[in-house]
């Protein structure tokens, strides 16, 4: 009798435990995800945020978007990561300003149990579960190939790159250089590293062109430097002489593309980066890392005067949402 009683008690206890577990599972949970961008002002990042917000709505994620004032301030980013961890973020969608110097903060966050997804530019940490962004080396090659395809003769290439510690910029530069080297008819005349800010980039590019008037191909590796370079070329009246390949799009570079100071744009897919970044974070939080690929390459396309107003390019370049500039 005693034995059967204890057995029954056990059964009941297990049942109640089971019930408890089940009822706990039924509670829907809203995951909190923090997106830490490199900037909050450029068109590129606004498009990333649009994608991220679309995914947040779709997956019922509590999304917070933050970013530093300038695209060089990796310390501010580190502080943001720390604060996000303190505020119990479950996942961080991160775009690193500095491949190396952001690693410590990300490692610490991962140590605290936060899932890390890298978008646009990765960071030197094994904690990064997935990287979603452009294959920067391939994008760099694409830029160089465009220039080689349009121009005959010898190419004197000037490169306007942004911060030297940015993995993306360096990868793009490496890709471009490799293609120029392979062609055998191009020479890298000069490489400058300027700030990712249009005005500085304009001044630096103008200085570069003044110093090296032989430059006939100019590559700029992100949105602000492209704007700066385009303005410099336009100001100097070198639209015909200089073949400028920029990165990303905004209204200025699109205007310049029509005017001629910009000849081609390598357009990334920031919307997809934001969308997939948040989606991956959600998947990591709810389903584990099984269905999350380690690297996801968002597409890049070349936009030039010919295909600028094709319907696909329109949709890639211009946001439907009305934004205030």
């Amino acid at each position: 009798m005693k034995r059967s009683k204890s057995i029954l008690l056990c059964i009941l206890l297990t049942l109640f435990c089971l019930c408890g577990c089940l009822s706990e599972n039924t509670m829907p949970t809203q995951h909190s995800v923090v997106l830490i961008a490199k900037s909050t002002s450029t068109e590129f990042w606004l498009s990333v945020f649009a994608g991220a917000e679309a995914a947040a709505t779709e997956y019922n994620v509590n999304l917070t978007i933050i970013g530093p004032e300038t695209e060089e301030d990796y310390e501010a980013q580190n502080a943001m990561v720390e604060r996000a961890v303190q505020e119990n973020a479950e996942a961080i969608v991160f775009s690193a300003i500095d491949f190396e110097n952001n690693a410590g903060a990300i490692d610490a966050a991962a140590q605290a149990g936060v899932q890390v997804v890298a978008i646009d530019s990765s960071v030197d940490s094994t904690a990064v579960k997935t990287y979603i962004g452009t294959d920067n080396y391939a994008a760099g090659r694409m830029a160089a190939q465009t220039a080689l395809g349009r121009l005959d003769g010898t190419l004197n290439v000037g490169i306007v790159n942004y911060d030297i510690s940015s993995a993306n910029g360096q990868e793009r530069e490496r890709g471009a250089k490799d293609v120029f080297m392979e062609s055998g008819r191009a020479e890298i005349t000069a490489v400058i590293n300027t700030l990712a800010e249009a005005e500085t980039a304009r001044i630096d590019t103008a200085a570069l062109l003044a110093e090296h008037p032989e430059i006939n191909v100019l590559l700029a590796f992100n949105e602000p430097t492209s704007v700066g370079a385009a303005q410099a070329v336009g100001d100097l009246g070198l639209s015909e002489q200089v073949f400028l390949v920029g990165f990303d799009s905004n209204v200025v570079t699109v205007d310049c593309l029509q005017e001629g100071s910009v000849d081609a744009l390598v357009v990334q897919n920031p919307y997809a980066m934001g969308y997939l970044g948040v989606e991956s974070a959600y998947r990591l939080l709810s389903g584990g890392s099984k269905d999350v690929q380690h690297v996801v390459d968002t597409s890049t396309r070349i936009v030039d005067r010919e295909n600028l107003f094709s319907i696909d390019s329109q949709k890639a370049l211009f946001a439907f949402e009305q934004r205030t500039h």
Partner: protein, 572 residues
């Protein structure tokens, strides 16, 4: 004691609990299955309905947008017929009231941009490409026509998405066509915000299956998402549900555009069904647990007292004498059973005592009857011996013999008393020995050694005589040498011991055993077995005879009985 038969039947608890649980399980399973099936179809229906509602709402919104465009165009065409000054006035007023109009443009018959009215903006001097106007399409169309959403490309640094409606102006003089660019962002953000469930969405498709507007445009272009528009374009308006997706199509008026609503079965139906499944599972478990508990309690109510009763019966079966009945609690039926059992126990115990008492009494009576009998052969022989003595003139011996015989009978009878003083018993034994000694012509001698303190104790009458008789008949009669019988009486602790020792031929252990067992048979008088039985009946099993014998050496019989004084026995 009986060996317990191993139990083969099932216990009532097992039967009851498993029966209830299985019945409840089957019923629950059926209920859950039926319920979930119904629930699922209801959910699918409601998902379809909500999808249809969302799509028809979007459709009517887009339709009213297009209708509004049509009306605006009509207005603009009227303005274009006015004098230029009046026209500009009217148009600027129109633009003021319609902030969603991005631009109104007029074109020459050659397709050149003549004039542009836009709030606060001027077109670029050198327009790279004007997406709002296409000469070939314009020439082909006689009626106003609508162009799919595109980017406004005539301004500098301003590229809003617009939908253009272009209309010919037959009597417009210089201008052959007028276009109205209406902002698309209102509609696009409206479509963006439409959600069917959490992840469902709507998109806009033209008759050929080309996507006019999709909230996740960029994902489609990067190939991260795809929409099977070709298949959708072939479908008529309506709702189509497959395992994963519910698609709902509806045409927007007669524009050729169609709204497609996409919602996910997984989230609208499956999630709810899973939730409900989980809930019903929890409920089922609770019900099961409750039924388990109830059936267990119920069976406990039945089974436990029944088993108590069975245990009581078992112990009664084992030892009926020392069983004490304790009532078993439980339901009324069990209590009644228990009571009946109690009555039975009392009855049986009473009967057992009666039977035992009656048996003892019977035995006593039997033995008493035996005691009063005298072996007739002994009497004939003795009388023969006396007659013989008289004939020979041995009168003195004859007198002694007669006296001894008379004493023997007197003591045998003893006024019907069972217990007599030891002294009397000794006297009895001595008389017997005297007679036998004459009869056997002094073939043996005998001696008494009696503790004088024992003389007053009581003992059963005719205890020694059968022993002595046995010693003479089986021990000394066959002996060639002179026999000897020693009778000793002494105290041993609380007991009195009578010891009869002879030096006869003795007995084997088998013989000893048979003497203690055998009834006297056709012999009359008391046998050794009877002596033993009688002592044990009177005093208990620890008393009685003990025989030690060795062939050719002799036999010793010890008779043990308690020390009883006058008056003691009555209490027994």
């Amino acid at each position: 004691m009986k060996q317990r038969v191993p139990h083969t039947g099932l216990r009532i608890t097992t039967i009851l609990v498993s029966m209830v649980v299985s019945v409840v399980t089957i019923i629950l399973c059926c209920c859950v299955f039926v319920f979930l099936d119904r629930y699922r179809s209801a959910m699918v229906q409601s998902a379809r309905t909500s999808s249809e509602q969302a799509v028809s709402q979007v459709s009517s919104t887009v339709e009213s947008y297009l209708r509004d465009m049509d009306q605006s165009m009509r207005l603009v065409r009227q303005f274009m017929l006015e004098e230029p000054e009046r026209r500009d006035e009217l148009l600027s007023a129109f633009l003021k009231f319609r902030p969603d109009v991005v631009a109104v443009t007029s074109y020459s018959p050659e397709g050149e941009l003549l004039e542009c009215w836009a709030p606060g903006r001027e077109p670029k001097e050198e327009i790279f490409q004007n997406l709002s106007f296409d000469l070939q399409t314009a020439r082909a169309a006689e009626e106003p026509y609508i162009m799919a959403p595109h980017v406004e490309s005539i301004f500098e640094g301003y590229y809003p998405w617009v939908v253009t409606v272009t209309a010919p102006i037959p009597e417009g003089g210089e201008a052959a066509w007028v276009s109205l660019d209406l902002s698309f962002s209102g509609i696009s953000s409206y479509i963006n915000n439409v959600s069917i469930g959490q992840r469902g969405y709507c998109f806009l498709m033209d008759a050929g299956g080309n996507i006019v507007y999709h909230p996740q445009q960029q994902l489609l272009y990067s190939g991260l998402k795809s929409e099977n528009t070709a298949a959708l374009a072939a479908l008529a308006d309506g709702t189509y549900a497959d395992d994963t997706v519910i698609s709902c199509l509806e045409a927007v008026g007669d524009s050729g555009w169609r709204i497609v609503g996409v919602s996910y079965v997984d989230e609208l139906v499956n999630r709810n069904v899973t939730e409900m499944l989980r809930l019903s599972f929890v409920l089922a478990i609770v019900v099961l647990a409750a039924s388990l508990l109830t059936s267990w309690l119920l069976s406990r109510l039945l089974d436990r007292p029944l088993r108590g009763l069975a245990a009581a019966m078992g112990s009664f079966e084992k030892d009926a004498d020392h069983f004490t009945y304790r009532p078993v609690g439980g339901t009324r039926e069990v209590q009644e059973l228990s009571q009946s059992f109690g009555h039975m126990v009392v009855r049986i115990q009473k009967l057992m005592t009666t039977v035992r008492e009656e048996e003892v009494n019977l035995r006593k009576t039997e033995l008493r009857a035996l005691q009063t009998q005298i072996n007739p052969h002994f009497l004939y022989n003795t009388l023969d011996s006396i007659a013989w003595m008289c004939e020979q003139g041995r009168n003195a011996d004859a007198v002694k013999m007669v006296h001894a015989l008379a004493r023997l009978f007197r003591i045998s009878i003893s006024q019907g008393h069972e217990l007599i003083p030891v002294a009397r018993e000794i006297e009895h034994a001595e008389s017997y020995l005297q007679i036998q000694k004459y009869r056997y012509k002094n073939q043996f001698t005998y001696a008494f050694d009696v503790d004088p303190e024992c003389l007053d104790f009581l003992c059963n009458k005719i205890t020694l005589q059968p022993i002595i008789e046995n010693a003479i008949n089986h021990g000394l009669k066959l002996l060639v040498d002179e026999g000897r019988i020693d009778v000793r009486v002494y105290r041993d602790g609380e007991d009195v011991v009578f010891c009869v020792q002879d030096n006869g031929v003795g007995m084997t252990p088998e013989q000893v055993e048979s003497i203690l067992r055998r009834d006297p048979g056709n012999h009359t008088g008391i046998g050794i077995k009877n002596v033993n039985d009688r002592l044990q009946i009177y005093f208990g099993r620890q008393y009685g005879l003990h025989i030690t014998s060795e062939p050719d050496v002799g036999t010793t019989v010890e008779i043990r009985m308690p020390q009883i004084r006058e008056g003691d026995y009555e209490t027994k």
